[in-house]
């Protein structure tokens, strides 16, 4: 199999959240669409600045919650009133007040699991390999530096021009990101 190292993109490193926010806005204004940013902590508004629109996580959570709750109640009703009804101290078979705690807990469980696994799935995690890890400086993304990467897939991408553009935004280091 051919082991050709392809170019993934160009990445610039910044020192503060304000710098990367400004850089991100300028990059978006310049017409670049395939842009990703990497920060050691979440920055308000950064994802939107580089084109992120909408996340399905809240919707998934609601689906999980409703599903969990309905399953919980239906399960209890079916088990207590349909499948094997028993006289338990003369209590009604459909003791819906008594079914509330389990229904509530399963709602929360459903919602929380869908939120977490939905978030991971939408983020396509686990993803043990990604080209940005090939840049040595990138380890700082989990400590104290902020990175802006313009992908080679972007229609406006040109290695020399895009690198110059990033340098023009006062990036500290501009590196090529190779996919190896």
């Amino acid at each position: 199999m051919e082991q050709r190292s392809q170019l993934y993109g160009v990445m610039g490193e910044f020192d503060t959240p304000e710098q990367i926010m400004a850089a991100a806005r300028k990059t978006h204004e310049a017409g670049y669409k395939r842009v990703t940013a990497y920060t050691p902590f979440p920055i308000e508004g950064l994802a939107e600045a580089i084109g992120f629109k909408w996340t399905a996580v809240p919707l998934l959570t609601m689906i999980g919650g409703l599903g969990g709750g309905l399953t919980g109640f239906a399960m209890q009703y079916w088990m207590m009133a349909v499948s094997y009804p028993l006289n338990i101290g003369g209590r009604p078979l459909n003791s819906w007040p008594a079914f509330i705690p389990v229904t509530f807990e399963l709602t929360i469980l459903g919602a929380a699991s869908f939120a977490v696994f939905g978030m991971l799935a939408l983020n396509k995690l686990p993803e043990p390999y990604h080209p940005v890890f090939n840049v040595d400086r990138f380890a700082h993304a989990s400590t104290d530096k902020f990175f802006l990467c313009i992908e080679a897939r972007d229609p406006k991408f040109n290695l020399a021009e895009t690198a110059r553009f990033l340098r023009g935004l006062n990036a500290q280091h501009v590196s090529e990101v190779k996919d190896e």
Binding site: P17, F41, I43, A98, E105, A111, A112, M119, P126, D144
Partner: protein, 464 residues
Amino acid sequence: MSASEPPVNSPDLRRLDPVLAPGHTYASVTDKIAAVVLTRPLGIGWLAGFTVAFGVVMVLFASLAWLIIKGVGIWGINVPIGWGFAIVNFVWWIGIGHAGTLISAILFLLNQKWRTSINRFAEAMTLFAVACAGIFPLIHTGRPWMAFYMFPYPSTMGVWPQFRSPLIWDVFAVSTYGTVSLLFWFVGLLPDLATLRDRAKTRTQQVIYGALSLGWRNSAHHWHRYQSAYLLLAGLATPLVLSVHTVVSFDFSVAIVPGWHTTIFPPYFVAGAIYSGFAMVLTLAIPLRKVYGLEDFITMRHLENMAKVMLATGLIVAYGYFVEFFMAFYSGNKFDVFLATQRLHGPYSHFYFALILCNILTPQLLWFEKVRRNVVALFLMSLVINTGMWLERFVIVVISLTRDFMPSAWGRYSATFWDYSTFVGTLGLFVMLIFLFVRGLPAIAISEMRELVAHQSNGKKENE
């Protein structure tokens, strides 16, 4: 510090206790916290403490083995007191766990910055407390090897669990609580695991943290979804934590036993859980910050705030005690009135008075700023409060069972060696897990601390 700020020792500055000591950068907070896991050598203190805790866990295993071999009769329970230490311990441990979720979820929703340096180990505390708690409902049954009957699976007998029973509600509530707490904790840990992966000093560390971090690369798109999920989890965990201890309180309030059958229990138990939980967080935070030099991150502001929460929840618990008495007498129900007087005059009244001393009287010292700002006093206070909360569960569970409706069936409860050894064993398990956690995972949420640094430097810029 600019010239306009007051000098170091003035009372005005004390009120401005920072959430994060000034002078830190993204790198310095990361270095400090990650170093505890990655580079700091295992000191004699850690090794000695771990060895002792491990020994106590062996005592736990021996107690559990003897329990399975002989039966639940090795404990002090009988008829009428069918529930003794095991259920007291279960409720105590679950209660302790609630503070972690409150700090993580509720303080997050309330935008309280002081949650940041304490939420990680508080959540770990929750998980370990739930683990210790979960042992008891399993082992206290007469036939624990059949405890799976409580789960809704299609059985050969065709029967299902009996969903009207509070014990089944417990199964679902505690399982959900453990799962959601674990998910919440893990989600919070993801970015920090990535940090440890990127700073790993050995290949083993790199592989383990790399695997656990799932390839997290701090992408802004990922952060966006992450924030969304985190906020939703916090919003879900809040009613969850309120509901779990409510469901645990239903074990008692749904029964007809006088002294148990009272509607004050759900809020009283939840407040008590937060009370004991914060006490345990203090018990852990104070040595942790001292030993690992984390006073810049867990500051006096945190300790004082936790003390204030303890005081507030202590007052709610005191209100609960008052309502119990009031409702007993107001109802005129002879059994409830009798039970209330039994707490004061009966054979176990000394436990009740010890409880009042530990839970109501001693914590009133927290009204005084001098006490709240004295680290040793806070540590001792946290131990006293947790003792008091244990006594509270003992008073509720055991005293009500000793003397209920029919005098011919009254009895006495006397704990045996195995009751104590099992309880102490779970304390050892908890301590051992905390020791492992402190060295294996970042005890403070690194990425959130970086947010605090950013927030602080923004604040500085606004002042300039």
